[in-house]
């Protein structure tokens, strides 16, 4: 019961995050969508560990890895935003459309 509730919440967070990551034009808002998806992943990991592993510590380790991924994504994402802004004065996705070619 608890696990189902938590997993449904995680699914909703991942859905909203995917919507944000695909729809936002500003880089920083796009990164918030990515963070929201990682938030959902963290919630699912904590739920599975708490209800499905009878307290095996490896599940908590996975949650810590998810948090490290969040920190890496945040730091490198903002560094990339700053680098792109320095080179091209761009802070919207459509301004760097030349990367498509």
């Amino acid at each position: 019961m608890t696990l189902t509730i938590v997993l449904l919440g995680a699914a909703a967070l991942i859905g909203i995050g995917l919507y944000g990551a695909l729809s936002q034009q500003s880089f920083v808002m796009l990164m918030m969508g990515l963070e929201l998806m990682l938030n959902g992943a963290l919630l699912a990991v904590v739920g599975f560990w708490s209800q499905g592993l009878a307290g095996m510590p490896e599940g908590q380790l996975l949650a810590i890895i998810v948090m490290a991924v969040m920190a890496v994504e945040m730091a490198l994402g903002f560094a990339l935003v700053v680098a792109v802004y320095r080179r091209r004065q761009a802070d919207m996705t459509k301004s760097i459309g030349t990367l498509k070619e």
């Binding site: 608890t2 991942i14 909203i16 944000g20 034009q25 880089f27 808002m29 560990w49 307290g55 949650a63």
Partner: protein, 202 residues
Amino acid sequence: MRDAFVIALVLFAVWTGWRVFRVDSMVRASFSLMLSFFAVGAIGVLLSAPYIGVATVFMMAVEMMVMAIFMVMFMMNPAGLNPMSMVHQHRLSIGAGAAAFAALAAAALLSELPDAPVPTDKAVVADLGHELLGPSMLIFETAGVTLLATMVGAVILSSRQGRYGMADQGSRPPGLEPGGEPAGRQPDESGGGHHHDHGGHG
């Protein structure tokens, strides 16, 4: 009783997560995301993962403050006085988000979920400490080295120029065919040093 709290916190996390893309100010959006993370941390505390929950709250409090500063740097509508909507491919995004939610929710509802909750007398934080500095130490250390590499990469990416001048000074993108014209955008001959006027009048 615990389930009621978990339901309330899950609903709060989802609602604040939704507010991130609905508020008119990007600073409010980052604080809304922070509340969503806090709710997930509180769920962790309720679900007998106190270390993970509290660490999430501490980490996200700092991270979202940094994010709010970046929001002020990059947003075009700081005060949230005007409606803000900067979206593209809106229908596709709604469809993708709804499809992801439907698929994951169906997987959660249809699959046979494990039922082995944490025993109430288990010392979960001590277990985690022994695991981190015992059998899984290599994984833990790998995460540390990854964070170090992230720091180096972030400094290199965000520094205005390297020790010996602009990073791409005199560089020439490779041609599409051997000896052909360079492909893509040419780096600025001037070294990209113009536009020094943005970023405050301090």
